[in-house]
Symmetry: C2
Subunit: 186 residues, 2 copies
């Protein structure tokens, strides 16, 4: 698998394809000329159109103020080949280190937001803050995905699903029950 998979535009209304299964993701941000990355496991799709994703970014994270101040971020989808980077990023702070440099990750410019894409990830979802009504109470941000980039292969990448306690479940095998769905319910 290429270290820097070639990605093409993907419909923002269909990002549930990658986020609804609940993978751990990497959130990249940029503010006042500095970029950072955090590992995030608490997120959910909220709407197809506009393409909304809700997520918890604890205020103790260095990324919290960067995301809130810029009103932007990129949600990047790592696969199992980035397991150690995912763990390293989650166990360090952007207050202390440059995570792109430390973990050998490469930035690319986004199309619609100032936050950088992570080239090594399978997919990148450019996000703008849509609603901050629950940020003060729950650190809960609602973003709109405004542009999506996805690698064409593999079609079903192996993703990481965090259980706590240093343990991840791995998804990748796929089963179809398409024939059992009513039209409109897929």
């Amino acid at each position: 698998m290429a270290r820097h998979p070639v990605k093409t535009d993907f419909p923002v209304s269909q990002v549930r394809r990658y986020l609804e299964p609940g993978p751990i993701v990497l959130v990249s941000s940029r503010w006042q000329g500095r970029a950072n990355i955090m590992t995030m496991g608490w997120h959910t799709v909220m709407e197809f159109t506009p393409s909304l994703v809700g997520c918890v970014i604890a205020s103790s994270n260095h990324s919290f103020h960067m995301v809130r101040s810029s009103g932007e971020c990129v949600i990047n989808l790592p696969t199992t080949k980035l397991t150690d980077e995912v763990v390293g990023i989650g166990n360090t702070s952007g207050a202390d280190i440059d995570k792109f440099a430390q973990f050998g990750l490469t930035m690319a410019e986004a199309a619609k937001v100032g936050a950088p894409l992570i080239r090594e990830c399978h997919a990148n979802f450019e996000c703008r803050l849509h609603d901050d009504a629950l940020v003060d109470r729950y650190n809960f941000f609602i973003f709109e995905v405004v542009r999506a980039h996805v690698a064409a292969t593999p079609k079903h990448p192996e993703t990481l699903h965090y259980t706590g306690d240093g343990m991840f479940m791995v998804s990748g095998n796929v089963i179809s029950r398409r024939s059992l769905f009513r039209p409109g319910m897929l």
Copy 2:
């Protein structure tokens, strides 16, 4: 694997163990003497203590008014052995059928809420509505898990993760990076 696994109390502050990986879940509810079940894929952990889970229940679901009116539900965790039930429940409406009867599922009484547990599921999380601030705008409910019941085995059940289009990813294989975590970050 037993059709009705024996479950024991599980700490509500640790339900992220089962929900953070992002599995499809079954939401059971009871209102005015009738019970119902819906399939749900849009949910996220929001806090350890109190144990908060946010989720989208579209207002077009028969369960929406039952959950909102009762202020309670149970989030049940199915494994792959219930794949066809998960799909059937997601493709039918409680306005038309009794889903427990139709899909051969068994109710058990909850300890703290009026909604029934589904015995065939691997885990049951009893929930009370904690905050409905975003229900009108996004159909987004924030529940507190007030009691949790989990089967002792298997330790890492195979769960279903919905991608849309009738396709599920399966999680079950586990990888540990526990040794790479800082204390307090697990």
